[in-house]
């Protein structure tokens, strides 16, 4: 019987951590708990619906539960169904890999005005997360603030034609919503120079493939991928990349939003029907992240560790999660001292609402088999149906 480890969060960081631990110590008793009734976190609800190849890592994570004896305990929310001190008492080690569910605020006057939406809130709704708010109306000219991969994901989905969403898992309601937006122009605003933007060049190449876009660049410099994309696109939908433009204020003027930016050419104003902020993620306040980070780093080391974006902030993509998980696994195994009196997963026995990995496999099969021809999956979207798929089958 190996040591008992609880991992909170079944997203890429939690799963890679479990994978790295089990590779080195196959007899560990690993339990992965998640507030959602389904596993994979960001892979399911954060990776873009049209980036199915990226979601392929879920096949690795499934093996944790089907072959490597890790257990999934879904629909179990830390701080609601179970407290962190209880978890820490029951396990030799607890790893917090809950990610960062909150959108970082713009931090400028007017950033709370109606029509200002966080990219996380928007993509959660697009990707049909059970806790997501309704999809907002974006109007004819949304402005995206931020030039990382999330900003480009949002831009790409807004700019795609229905045909270009073929093979994705974008659900029927978000698909209808996209078609109904009637967007006539999109502006992307970023503080950095074009050549210093954080998105991957391959994301810009992907934009250049879209039939509708006409990419344009304010303050160009030697950003090769962008310059190539600008030259290669001439569709009916203007997409203005405005670099070296630091947002300073948002106002409501005549029913529209007005964004003021500082640029090398002085202040400029951009009119927007909506503003989507995509400048990173923060803790949503469900946990006291600062205190927990401090405690996890405390000496002498206790039994609390943090992983992924919860630990590092919202930097790095999936490969970085994997690298960090491998380092974390080594660190944990160096220090762990199993205590056979720890009850481990026995403390979940009282929670009848927990769903396991078999439950997910039934949902997964149902979602795959109910996908229409132009989609690879049709997600079950509401919590009740995720918990009771029978109600979905009768629908």
């Amino acid at each position: 019987m190996g040591a008992k480890i609880a991992i909170v969060g079944a997203g890429p960081s939690g799963c890679y951590t479990a994978q790295a631990l089990l590779k080195r110590a196959p007899d560990l008793e690993i339990d992965i708990i998640d507030a959602q009734p389904v596993p994979y976190g960001l892979v399911r609800y954060g990776v873009a619906a049209d980036h199915q190849g990226t979601k392929g890592v879920a096949r690795q994570f499934a093996r944790l539960f089907t072959r490597q004896n890790a257990r999934f305990h879904g629909n179990l929310r830390l701080g609601h169904h179970i407290t962190l001190p209880d978890l820490r008492r029951a396990y030799d080690v607890v790893v917090l890999a809950t990610g960062l569910a909150g959108d970082r605020a713009l931090g400028i006057p007017g950033d709370g005005l109606p029509g200002v939406i966080g990219s996380g809130a928007l993509t959660r709704a697009l990707y049909e997360h059970p806790d997501a708010a309704a999809l907002p109306s974006l109007g004819a000219h949304p402005v995206i603030i931020g030039t990382g991969n999330v900003a480009i994901d949002v831009l790409r989905l807004l700019a795609k034609t229905p045909d270009e969403l073929h093979g994705s898992d974008l659900g029927p309601a978000p698909t209808d919503w996209l078609a109904a937006q009637e967007i006539r122009q999109i502006t992307v605003v970023g503080r950095s120079r074009a050549s210093a933007a954080r998105f991957s060049p391959v994301m810009i190449k992907e934009l250049a493939e879209l039939s509708r876009v006409d990419l344009r660049l304010r303050f160009p410099d030697d950003a090769e991928a962008l310059n190539t994309a600008v030259a290669a696109t001439s569709g009916p939908l203007p997409v203005d990349f405005r670099f070296e433009s630091r947002p300073v204020a948002l106002e409501q003027v005549d029913g529209a939003l007005r964004l003021t930016v500082e640029t090398p050419a002085g202040p400029e104003q951009i009119s927007a029907s909506s503003v989507i902020s995509a400048i990173g993620f923060v803790c949503d306040g469900a946990l006291d992240r600062a205190a927990l980070l401090q405690e996890a780093d405390a000496a002498p080391p206790g039994n609390l560790y943090t992983a992924g974006w919860f630990r590092t902030g919202s930097v790095g993509a999936i490969p970085q999660c994997r690298d960090e998980a491998q380092a974390l696994a080594v660190e944990i195994l160096d220090r762990i001292t199993p205590d056979v009196t720890k009850p481990g997963r026995a403390i979940f026995a009282a929670h009848k609402s927990i769903v396991d990995f078999d439950h997910w496999q039934r949902l997964d099969a149902l979602e795959l088999s109910s996908a229409p021809g132009n989609r690879c999956r049709q997600k079950i979207t509401c919590r009740e149906e995720l918990l009771n798929p029978a109600t979905h089958e009768d629908a």
């Binding site: 890679y16 093979g167 991957s200 391959v202 190449k205 999936i318």
Partner: protein
């Protein structure tokens, strides 16, 4: 037969496929499994057949765990004329322009050092419904059968 299986991976998918191939062959063959990150070109000279699984990342680049190995090939200029290898790629046809380029680049580097590539280089498409192991296992079995006759 003595078969050495190597993988170059960025997110772990190529590693998983390499493990599947090792599992599929170990009953009948003497197999070894290693990350290219932990290997040197000299390690290709041990087995009768080297099977390499290699993904692509970003703009058709080599995956992270294959990069140090590729650098060694370039720096040490080893003579690999006695080396036989078969390479299987992982790619995503959504990125058509650079589809499977990671495995292609690695194959070219090996051939440039004199190694002999067996068979064509299949690439599993992440955008397809096929499972990589369902494509790779028959492929590797056919290669081994071809060598045995």
């Amino acid at each position: 037969m003595k078969i050495a299986i190597f993988f170059g991976t960025e997110t772990g998918n190529a590693e998983m496929l390499a493990e599947d191939i090792a599992t599929g062959l170990e009953a009948e063959h003497e197999t070894s499994l290693a990350d290219l990150a932990d290997s040197s070109p000299e390690d290709l000279k041990v087995a009768e057949l080297n099977v390499i699984v290699c993904s692509s990342y970003g703009e058709g680049e080599l995956p992270a765990s294959a990069k140090p190995f590729a650098a060694q090939l370039a720096d040490s200029q080893p003579d690999l004329s006695d080396v036989r290898f078969a390479i299987f790629g992982l790619g995503d046809s959504e990125y058509a322009e650079t589809y499977g380029f990671g495995s292609m680049k690695l194959a070219e580097l090996l051939v440039a050092r004199g190694a002999r590539a067996l068979d064509e280089r299949p690439v599993h498409d992440a955008a397809s419904a096929d499972l990589p192991e369902d494509v790779a296992l028959p492929w590797v079995t056919a290669i081994i059968d071809g060598l045995a006759t």
